[in-house]
Amino acid sequence: MKKIEAIIKPFKLDEVKDALNEMGIKGMTISEVKGYGRQKGHKEIYRGAEYIVDFIPKVKIEIIVEASMVEAVVTKIRETANTGKIGDGKIFVLPVEEVIRVRTGETGKEAI
């Protein structure tokens, strides 16, 4: 089992969600995150006043899938979230030791 974490641009969330749903992935965790990365925050000057946003708003999607699904999911996210511009985001794949469903105590594949 693997955990896929994708950090993407907020406006791409709906598209990515739909694409994953189509693949049969219904469950995911989504959070609003702040990116402090190579694509630095920006300083804007408007009407003489300086305004600094020191982070970039991003969305994080977390999904757990069976190892066999990883490639397809990663490809789908990459295709969907890509705009070709800086700041499109990153995808991480992590190993997962165990999954347990709180209500029933099921583990492994059944609990995903």
Binding site: Y46, G48, P57, T83
Partner: protein, 853 residues
């Protein structure tokens, strides 16, 4: 035990009767009776209880208001001699109740211990007020009751009231949080059962009044109030009964998951546009509000009757019919209210300005006079002025608007509010009912105006505030709420006397209040073509600023999850990008040129034969700033400008502000002379549009407000025109006259606050065409005159100006070019201008006192 089974069966039967339509009150009484019978039977069968003991019902059970799963509060009163038999009696009485699964609150006390405990514990003291004898020794009970009243109540009325009010306030505070707004606690929340009881207890302890009817007869509440209150109470009883049965336990909080089922149980069904559950919650919120308002008024009234007299009994009349007495505002003249119903709104505008509360009796007077707010009053300019005064200037706008809503005045004045009053939205996102959310938004907007955002300084803050108040007015209907709201808002705007342009802006804001937030989240902010579309839709930086501020205020007023720094960053990004597009001329130029030609056609058609030979003298900027009728009007007026040293002055009344059109031949320092003359006539410039035709004709439109309370009709416009002509002929010494005027008029009234240091910013970046000079200064009489005169001394031409004030600070922005019609690029010249302006801004002048416009 046989009795347990019987008790359980009887309680089940009761639930059955409830489902068959037993009334709420009847259920409470039957339930109490059932438990009474059971306890009396148990008591009678216990030989140890025969002497020196008395079984007493307390609290809600004592009042015979026993909800399906409420605690059964019992007191076993005993003489000291009966001490050794207590164990057996408790066992015989309480164990069967526990076995039957009832929640029992029990105490075992001697009369002396009762009094001692009641002295320590206010809750127990209050519980004893409801004490009712169930079984056992009557004399024992009676003597305890008498001692209780003699020692704890009589002579302690003020203390009792203070305790009661303090507990009430603490409880409101505790249960006023967000989660309780979404999922109201119908016992403890504001307007819940505790508030009802607080009023009944207080009446009983203080005045010996037993029931609601007695309270009404004593004149503590009016018959109308009593009627509404009784109805709300009755409905709340039904709701609480149902909630207990639905939860299957003592639960008084209407959790989200129960709301739909509750609505179904009371036969609320979904209709097009509203959910049954939303209408159910709306009714519930209205009942809670009725109880809250009535009990608020009750406690204020009792507190005043009983409370310590306040220090300052002096009465001060603010205006005919409205006075301040003991730091409360009072309506004093019923006949005058009938003659001038706008006094009702003036009361609130004074409340906003002074920060004083409106006396409870005057709040009742407002409610009793709502029938005076008819269609004519809804169109009244004075009414509108007072209303906008509240929106814009109230110190605590949320408090003032809340009272306006609670008294019913807001809904009477804006009938559009009725539909959304107490309307709930069935989701976890919208914490407040729609009406409260709208009031919150106005308050958040006010807070924003005091904080630093890149978008600030709105030209018509009253339009923005009204948009905040109306942005969700279209909810509760199946149509798109923003679309429907914009139509309703336009009607309101017209009725309240906004100009056509302002009404259009209002309607635009309401229609698009979600635009920025939604696009910021859902669209690619690097898509230039899309951003350009946004810019075209929004049209002007002014509108963008308004939309930006409205979006933030709206989100902040929605609930704790609706606003975050994260969303703020996205919103800021899209707004800045659109702003840069709007300020860049080249992106909109083609459309503009077309617009200007279209305008010229319109003007030509209007002018007919009187058309001047050459339209080229009219600059594009100018053509795009006025409707064709006005351009034609200006052209006609120009014919009347006979000589160089002459000005035409023409005022217009826009209700909330006035505008003055000035036409003259261009000359150095003309704007300074205009500003000086306006100041001399007590007029405060809010914003100005300044145009120079190519033939040297100046067309200036200055929006002004009177510095003192005077009406448009009272203003001497003719004298203003004459003085301006004198000034242009250099026959009027403006400088010394201004000093003179403000020395006499304002001596001693100004108090020195801590002031921000004046600042001058010269910016060549923000505009392609102009050098923008911004002056931040502390306001004083004649300041604008001094600044414009200084600019004239440098032979700078002012092409546009925006004058805004934020409390005592003014921010004056001038779009300027130097004498050669180019930007001011020379750094040393820039510095010279800065220094000269700072000198003027820092100078407190000979007037000696500062003026609070």
């Amino acid at each position: 035990m046989v009795v347990d089974v019987e008790l359980r069966a009887k309680r089940d039967a009761l639930e059955y009767l409830w489902r068959q339509g037993l009334s709420g009150q009847a259920l409470l009484h039957k339930h109490s009776q059932l438990i009474d019978d059971y306890l009396v039977c148990l008591f009678a069968n216990c030989p140890e209880a025969a002497e020196g003991m008395s079984l007493v019902a307390l609290g809600g059970y004592g009042r015979r208001e026993l909800f399906p799963y409420s605690d059964i509060d019992l007191l076993l009163l005993h003489t000291p001699e009966a001490e050794n038999r207590l164990g057996a009696v408790s066992e015989a009485l309480f164990y069967p109740l526990w076995d039957a699964g009832l929640e029992v609150g029990h105490g075992v006390r001697t009369p002396d211990a009762c009094l001692a405990d009641a002295r320590q514990d206010f809750f127990f003291q209050v519980a004893l007020l409801d004490a009712r004898h169930l079984a056992g020794s009557q004399p024992l009970f009676t003597s305890m009751r008498q001692a209780f009243h003699r020692e704890l109540i009589a002579g302690h009325r003020r203390e009792f009231l203070q305790n009661m009010m303090q507990h009430r306030n603490e409880r409101h505070h505790r249960y006023g949080m967000h989660s309780y707004q979404l999922e109201p606690h119908i016992k403890e929340s504001r307007g819940g059962f505790r508030d009802i009881q607080a009023m009944i207890w207080t009446s009983r302890a203080l005045f010996g009044l037993q029931e609601l009817r007695d309270i009404e007869e004593a004149g503590l509440i009016s018959p109308q109030e009593k009627e509404a209150f009784a109805q709300a109470w009755d409905s709340l009883i039904k709701i609480r009964n149902q909630l207990h049965y639905l939860s299957g336990r003592k639960n008084d909080q209407l959790f989200f998951e129960y709301q739909v089922e509750m609505a179904k149980a009371f036969k609320y069904s979904d209709t097009r546009g509203t959910l049954g559950v939303e209408r159910f919650m709306q009714d519930l919120y209205r009942h809670l509000q009725t109880v809250a308002t009535t009990t608020d008024l009750f406690f204020e009234h009792v507190d005043e009757t009983l409370g310590s007299p306040r220090a300052n009994p002096v009465e001060q009349t603010i205006e005919p019919g409205i006075t301040v007495r003991q730091e409360r505002l009072h309506l004093t003249d019923q006949a005058l209210i009938e003659k001038r119903p706008y006094l009702l709104m003036r009361l609130f505008s004074h409340a906003g300005k002074t920060g004083l509360e409106i006396h409870h009796r005057s709040r009742k007077i407002v409610t009793a006079n709502l029938h005076l707010v008819d269609d004519k009053i809804r169109h009244s300019k004075r009414m509108a002025k007072a209303f906008f005064d509240v929106l814009e200037n109230a110190k605590d706008v949320l408090a003032v608007l809340s009272v306006m809503l609670d008294t019913g005045l807001l809904t009477a004045y804006l009938p559009e509010f009725e539909q959304i009053r107490a309307l709930a939205q069935h989701d976890v996102y919208h914490v407040f009912t729609v009406d409260r959310h709208l009031l919150q938004t106005v308050a958040e907007l006010k807070k924003l105006s005091l904080s630093k955002t890149p978008f600030a300084g709105v030209e018509s803050p009253h339009v923005l505030a009204l948009a905040a108040l109306l942005h969700d007015i279209g909810k509760g209907h199946h149509e798109d709420h923003a679309q429907r709201g914009s139509t309703l808002a336009a009607e309101v705007g017209k009725r309240l006397g906004l100009t056509e342009a302002e009404t259009a802006c209002l309607s635009f804001l309401v229609k698009n209040h979600l635009f920025l937030t939604v696009t910021a989240l859902r669209r690619d902010l690097e898509d230039d073509a899309f951003l350009r579309q946004c810019a075209e839709q929004i049209q002007s930086p002014e509108r963008l600023t308004m939309l930006y501020l409205l979006s933030i205020a709206d989100a902040k007023a929605t609930g704790p999850t609706a606003w975050s720094e994260w969303k703020g960053a996205l919103l800021l990004e899209i707004s800045l990008k659109i702003a840069h597009l709007l300020e860049r001329k080249d992106t909109v130029l083609p459309d503009k040129r077309q617009g200007a030609e279209w305008m010229l056609d319109q003007v030509r058609a209007l002018m007919g034969k009187a058309a001047p030979s050459d339209y080229k003298i009219l600059p594009e900027e100018y053509l795009l700033s006025f409707p064709p009728e006005e351009v034609a009007h200006h052209l006609r007026l120009r014919a009347g400008l006979k000589n160089e040293k002459q000005a035409i002055t023409e005022p217009t009344d826009h209700t909330l502000f006035w505008s003055v059109l000035v036409m003259a031949h261009d000359s150095t320092g003309l704007l300074a002379k205009i500003c000086g003359t306006l100041a001399l006539h007590g007029l405060n410039v809010v914003s100005a549009q300044i145009f120079t035709w190519e033939d040297g004709t100046v067309v200036d439109v200055l929006n002004v407000r009177p510095a003192a309370e005077q009406t448009y009709a009272e203003q001497d416009w003719q004298a203003l025109g004459e003085d301006l002509n004198l000034a242009i002929k250099n026959r009027l010494g403006l400088s010394h006259r201004l000093v003179e005027k403000f020395r006499t008029a304002f001596r001693g009234t100004g108090q020195k606050n801590v002031q921000a240091a004046p600042r001058v910013v010269i910016d060549n970046m923000a505009s392609e065409q102009f050098t923008i000079i911004e002056v931040f200064a502390n306001d004083r009489p004649g300041l604008l005159y001094d600044i414009t005169r200084t600019l004239a001394d440098f032979e700078l031409n002012i092409h546009r100006a925006r004058i805004s004030s934020d409390g005592d600070q003014v921010v004056d922005v001038f779009y300027t070019l130097d004498g050669f019609a180019t930007k001011i690029n020379n750094p040393s010249f820039q510095e010279e201008i800065s220094k000269a302006l700072l000198h003027v801004a820092e100078n407190e002048t000979g007037a000696g006192a500062r003026l609070q416009w």
